[in-house]
């Protein structure tokens, strides 16, 4: 069974704060993704990567940076968090030609 682990599961920060969300996959997948989920918008792609050191821009990248340090690890960085970034964040991995496997999600609140 494919495994994608996100941490933390919950995070509260203040406006202007610095937040890093972590994701690790043990599936040997090349592709990793960061999505946010908001009521009324479904899942929207922030950034994705097809390998260590690679970064591709998604559909809603503003205010987010990401870094893929290894094949297993993909990080999402909010350097100046804003209340509009309060959301449920999902990481996922895939081979790029097959099923997407999701982590359990990180609920972020920016006060």
């Amino acid at each position: 069974e494919a495994a994608v682990t996100q941490s933390p599961r919950n995070k509260v920060t203040v406006t202007g704060g610095n937040v890093t969300l972590s994701c690790r996959q043990t599936n040997s997948h090349n592709y990793m993704y960061w999505y946010r989920q908001d009521t009324g918008h479904g899942l929207r792609l922030i950034h994705y990567s097809y390998g260590a050191g690679n970064l591709q821009i998604g559909d809603v990248p503003d205010g987010y940076k990401a870094t893929r340090t290894t094949q297993e690890d993909f990080f999402l960085l909010l350097e100046l968090a804003s209340p509009s970034q309060t959301s449920l964040y999902f990481c996922a991995s895939s081979t790029g030609q097959n099923t997407l496997y999701f982590g359990a999600g990180t609920r972020l609140s920016v006060l």
Partner: protein, 108 residues
């Protein structure tokens, strides 16, 4: 950009009954995936289809790439089937576009 339109946005079923969810695509898609988001918020893979039909228990999905749609049929609905169902599709890249979801409520 690519659009994935899901319908209905909400659906209520009595236990033991069934229905179909649909996704329409505005461009030709290479493959479609279906997910269930359960009450805990977890996203569970249901199907991946590049063409044709797949069946798993009480669920069956079809993908017609030529006519740009996919369906998910649920039969003999159970309470644990409640949740939100999403389709997602790609047009030959690794970047998927998600539909807005169908919120399914199964009632006793």
């Amino acid at each position: 950009g690519d659009q994935v339109e899901q319908s209905p946005s909400a659906l209520s079923l009595h236990e033991g009954t069934g229905s179909a969810l649909r996704c329409n695509f505005t461009t030709t898609m290479r493959a479609v995936q279906w997910f269930q988001q359960n009450s805990r918020g977890s996203l569970i893979n249901l199907f991946y289809l590049a063409s044709g039909t797949k069946e798993n228990g009480r669920l069956k999905s079809t993908f017609n790439s030529k006519e740009s749609y996919s369906t998910l049929h649920i039969r003999d609905a159970q309470l644990e089937d409640s949740g939100t169902y999403f389709c997602a599709a790609d047009n030959a890249g690794a970047k998927l576009t998600f539909g807005g979801g169908t919120r399914l409520t199964v009632r006793p």
